[in-house]
Symmetry: C2
Subunit: 171 residues, 2 copies
């Protein structure tokens, strides 16, 4: 995505050091290695009711130990605000967790379309060998709440077993 009003953020392994479970594996990796970048377009001011925002995430392939590269994950500050995700290229998993910490994934393949209900925490993981490119569309007054995920994480982790993605419980 490109354009005059497009903004970009960038996360490397150092930025995500509290996200992955295997600290020993992480310590052996380059902390400057890129995990993902997000470009987004905000046609309206944040908190505008009724407006929409658009973002494109490029999530690199890789694992920390057996855990797939993934985004930080968050909730919307306004828990009624939903979000659409779509897969442009690559293969991944849209990981969601409900308020009662039930955690599940939807397989992302090119062209797949996914709906995240407003009350669900969400993150994406790259389960393939190529960059995972996904777009997202969400209300401009959704807001962001990173605290619950920073404090407790998701209730399950997505790891590679026999070459395939599998959820395992807890930390």
């Amino acid at each position: 995505m490109s354009g005059e009003q497009v903004q970009e953020s960038f996360k490397n392994l150092h930025d995500l050091k509290l996200v992955f479970s295997n600290r020993a594996a992480l310590a052996a990796m380059d902390p400057d290695r890129e995990v993902y970048r997000v470009r987004w377009w905000a046609p309206v001011q944040p908190a505008t009711e009724g407006g929409l925002l658009w973002g494109v995430t490029v999530l690199q392939p890789g694992r920390v130990g057996d855990e797939y590269f993934m985004t930080h994950g968050h909730l919307h500050a306004n828990r009624s605000r939903a979000e659409f995700y779509g897969t442009v290229s690559g293969n991944g998993m849209l990981i969601q967790m409900s308020a009662d910490r039930k955690t599940w994934g939807e397989v992302m393949t090119p062209g797949s379309l996914h709906y995240v209900r407003g009350e669900n925490a969400h993150r994406i993981a790259n389960t393939g060998d190529a960059p995972l490119v996904v777009w997202a569309c969400w209300p401009s007054d959704a807001g962001y709440d990173y605290t619950p995920i920073a404090e407790r994480g998701f209730a399950a982790r997505l790891v590679q077993r026999d070459g395939k993605p599998v959820f395992i419980e807890g930390d």
Copy 2:
């Protein structure tokens, strides 16, 4: 777009007989000829605040006289509710009209992304030789208001002149 919950609507030339300016040209065409179809996914009930809907429109190429095939066009009942459009394939024009009837177009090409502010009437026209495939994402409580367009139309029409799309004023 496909899936269990996907709904579809269909419009032929007969359904759009009040939309095109050249009634003589229209009368000479097959009224059953398809102009467009929309498939949409409503993961939540209409009028749900904070939810989102997704639709894909396939607009056929063609003209009635010199006027390009286009959709009916509408406003959102809730004038604060915005909408994103994206172009999958084909070439077209996203036509918008503000509350003071200023009318303009944004060229749609594969990959182009467009933001429609909540207060603007909007329709799409196919200016190419192949089907125009576009998706749209809008809030589930946006609603639809077809009355202003049915009564007065847009303030400008998109016609072909020397093989290119040009806006002309009024009817």
